[in-house]
Amino acid sequence: MSSTHSQNSSLTRRLETFSYDDQIVRWFVIATVIWGAVALLLGTTIAFQLAYWKVNGLGDLPWITFGRLRPLHTNAAIFAFCGNAIFAGIYYSTQRLLKTRLFSDALSRIHFWGWQLIIVAAALTLPFGFTQGKEYAELEWPIDIAIAGIWVVFAINFFGTLKVRRERHIYVAIWFYIATIITVAVLHIFNSLSLPVDFLKSYSVYAGVQDALVQWWYGHNAVAFFLTTPFLGLMYYFVPKAANRPVYSYRLSIIHFWSLVFIYIWAGPHHLLYTSLPEWAQTVGMVFSVSLWAPSWGGMINGLLTLRGVWNKVRTDPVLKLMATAVTFYGMSTFEGPLLSIKSVNAIAHYTDWIPGHVHAGTIGWNYMLTAGVLYFLVTKLWRTEIYSKKLAETQFWLATIGLVLYITSMWAAAFTQSAMWRAIDETGKLVYPNFIETVVKIVPMYWVRAFGGTFVFISFIIMMYNLYMTAKKGSVVDGEKLEAYALDESSIEKNAKPHRKLEGLTLVFSVLSLLAILVGSMIELIPTIMSYNYVIQKAEVKPYTPLEILGRDIYVREGCYTCHSQTIRPMAHEVLRYGKPSEAFEFIYDHPFQWGSKRTGPDLHRVGGKYPDMWHYRHMWDPREVVQGSIMPRYKWLFNSKINYNTLPKKLEVMATFGVPYSPEELQNGVALAEAQAKTITEGLVKSGAPSDVGNKEIVALIAYLQRLGTDYGRIK
């Protein structure tokens, strides 16, 4: 209670007894530690896969290749590790800030087990190629529905807790939590809209440029509202607690909150600069991304200045040290982000390793470090003891920091090297490095440095795991401790309270304002672009994929090709020289989902159609090094054994037709026969070139059909 409350009316108020539900926090803490280790192990594995292709296996085990493990890594890091960390921190701090037990023990437990089951479901689907093919939103539709359901459970539990609170004022950390819950729900639902083909296959309802905009509106705000706002809430609670002093400026924290929530939602289009996204949307995205620098640094300064006067403790207390480092990396990556969003910088940085470098400065530097600080704080509080070993925590800190610095700097070096090589044009107007592979071979040493940096980070995490385990082991659990606080009723509002004091109590109004703040930006950006569908559709020469190409495209999506290959050519001299005509919006109108990608570990594929003979692709997928010396791509031998699955084809075409893809009645009726006929033609060519005659019904043929079609309707390379 604030002092004014108790002075005014303490005599008339009702004192209530309650206890915190700390068990659920402990569960989330344990889940955070376990999934964090899994996410980092996966990250380290795929880092080595990029350095040395054989780590992918020799082409016999589909589910351990980069294209399938990378989505598992990102989902595990974001939703399993950070997700559980957020829930632990939110449930711990919310009960204390609102002086109440969580609304419902049962809902807390449904939330916990539901979320863990979703993570298990992700681990059981993504490696097996069940994916929607959109970054950080790969999970198939039944899991998407489960996520929405569990998120609603979380929301009911959280807002219920607000309802039964005994503290009138809502501390700023809780504001960040509210914005998180509301926005993640909106983003997840709208980006995941899809039509199912069967139980584990669906197509995005959006296509091409619309799908790209919705996806990156979601994708960037996954960063904003899953990796930033909830962690800022944690920062505003746990940093003051650990430093034992109030936040430097509470007013700044409020301006920080509203600015961040209002501005972040617009930033998505900076992932699509120089693409066929309408120019005005790119401009809005860039301007708001650059503006983000101000509130982000406002928050960083607020966090760091909270530590004024206790800097000596930062040296010795692992909790404060990890938190101070986290806030510093937050400052670094929120400076780098706006920089990368400036179009001319983005022209150099996009598709390069600068982007994963930037992302990991945020996720390792900010999310992991802050979580580590919060975990040490929580474990010592919840098991009522001291840290087992400050020395181990110190070792962890240095390993993580050195590993991260190795990661970031190697990626910068790789990015500048490769980007300069991509765009090098000699005096005769030709590319200096026309073979993409030359630019890859050059940066492989950097991939090794990154892999070792990642290994350091992974080891640091294992050290923390051990340290936390030993801490908990020597401590003890005391649950059900009785606490007292005054009930929040009419008597707790001062008689002459000003209107804003009342507003402060109205969580509903506040939630609606937050929702409005994110909806305004979303609607101004999304609605015109989605409406423009009707105009984009006009080019007659762009035709739907043939039935066989649809099947080939599904293989492309299944194997996660988009994690290394882009499919959109920017209007720049070197890209036009290397890949052909710049991509246009109307070329993608049948792409459910879009496959533009965000990283060129390999070359762009938008106009790969017709560039090489069928047999080249055949040999390339069997072993990329047969045709591209020095390639780091995995082998895809199973495509030569698995038969094309024609069973779901009629349903797939039907779903596409529902979206308005203009398939003729004949195609819808005889899809399978048409696909088989096309497969036969391709097979005849392959067999003539020396392929075995039984290749006809194998997946490789469908994939070749798709690859040879790419970009040919409008911009065939002459």
Binding site: R96, W280, F288, A585
Partner: protein, 57 residues
């Protein structure tokens, strides 16, 4: 030709509207936050994380 123009779907006014909207909203909540009358109230609020220790028996 019409479709060519519309396919760009150029809306230069939208970024401007967005910026004006933001400036208005920003001035609004900054004023709301920085009003001198709210000072003591925010000071109380910033102490909330430390109340759980006090409310224990």
């Amino acid at each position: 030709m019409k479709s060519e123009v519309l396919s760009r779907f150029d809306m230069p006014s939208l970024p401007l509207i967005a910026l004006i909207l933001f400036v208005v909203v920003f001035i609004g909540y900054t004023w709301w936050t920085l009003k001198p009358s709210r000072k003591s109230y925010f000071e109380d609020a910033s102490k909330l994380p430390f109340e759980d220790d006090k409310s224990k028996n």
